[in-house]
Assembly symmetry: C2
Homo-oligomer: 193 residues x 2
DNA sequence: ATTACTATTTGATCTATGTCAAATAATCAT
DNA sequence: ATGATTATTTGACATAGATCAAATAGTAAT
């Protein structure tokens, strides 16, 4: 079996946090399968419990919710990151978040049951989850600071840094709602540079 | 030995996420010790690596950083929560956050080395950490939403909900910097109700 | 108790950003 | 390609909240 090659980016990702044994690799390979989404395709419906986690290899997904009839972007996710609806996924309950594809996207899908199996049989997976959540935690704290005390322009610059590989591929309206400013303001900020 | 009683709130906290064996209880009891801080006392200096995590049993701690010479509150922590400087604690490096006591505070202190020992010998501790971080994660996401799209008044109301047990014990200036609004605005909001 | 210091309130402006509206520009479907 | 949606830009105006300044109120130290 030579099909482990596409799994390399996932293994690399894990190896930022833990050592990945061959046994774990083979379990991961067995349980993770490739999926594709086309641009605009819905990945997760908010009226649904999120039972899958996706590791993106190509493309961009957007997590958003609806407020007063408008789509508000919670965050964007790009290559080599896991995406799911965190509370829904962990607590097996519905949450407000939709996920869709901003571009045609290739990802690796892991079901919650399989993840639970891995947690139960590979304690290092628990450690991986704890450590990787720690780094996400740091990003959230940074983002909170960036939102609280900065002008619309500074927010946009922070966004460009955070998403420097992909920011130019994201429609203006989605960026504006992510930043909590209006499209018009964002458009003017872009224009003046 | 009958001194395990004051540890009960900690055990209860853990039992929200995992089962706590007697063996784990005795290890926790051995490794956690009670500490006290007086009002205004510095708990963590930003020029320092955070090596301790505190579980508060009484009082309020404040995590803040300095921006343009001003103290900006990152968050408040009250009874039955763990406090540390997350990135500093996990990555053993300096970060920007100070922690001090808003009131006289009693807490239980766990050193990072002891925590690491527990992670290594009790896989359920890894699971506890993963799950409890998950719920903190949810709060951060909520807070981000609350900051992005609401008026100063709504922010203050969200703050009151989040900290309903303690919000009235926190000085106005600290609340204002937590919310990212000026003291004057906050004062006016309070007045009009 | 009295003084000094710190925190909060109140008032008068000012400004960044929102809102509403309309004009372009870009993208999509036939 | 052509027309129909949809996204972005531009303009005029409104406003929440910031800033600056000064008056109270509250707290702590002698």
């Amino acid at each position: 079996m030579n099909s482990t090659e596409p799994m390399e980016p996932i293994f690399d990702h894990f190896e930022n946090y833990i050592e990945v044994s061959n046994e774990l690799k083979s379990e991961l390979t067995k349980r993770i399968k490739e999926v594709h989404f086309r641009k605009s395709e819905l990945v997760l419906d908010a009226n649904t419990i999120c039972t899958k986690s996706y590791f993106i290899s190509e493309g961009i997904l957007r997590t958003y919710f609806i407020k007063d009839g408008l789509e508000i972007t919670e965050y964007f996710s790009a290559s080599y990151e896991w995406v799911n609806s965190p509370k829904s996924f962990i607590l097996k309950q519905k949450d407000i978040y939709y996920i869709d594809a901003i571009e045609n996207t290739t990802a690796y899908c892991l079901e919650i049951e399989d993840l639970m199996y891995l947690f139960d049989h590979f304690p290092e997976m628990e450690r991986y989850a704890r450590l990787s959540m720690g780094s996400v935690f740091g990003h959230l704290m940074e983002r909170i600071t960036s939102i609280r005390f900065t002008s619309a322009k500074d927010k946009y610059e922070h966004f460009q840094k955070t998403y420097h590989d992909i920011y130019h591929r994201i429609p203006l309206g989605m960026v504006a709602s992510y930043l909590g400013i209006t499209q018009e303001t964002l458009s003017r900020i872009r224009a003046e540079k």
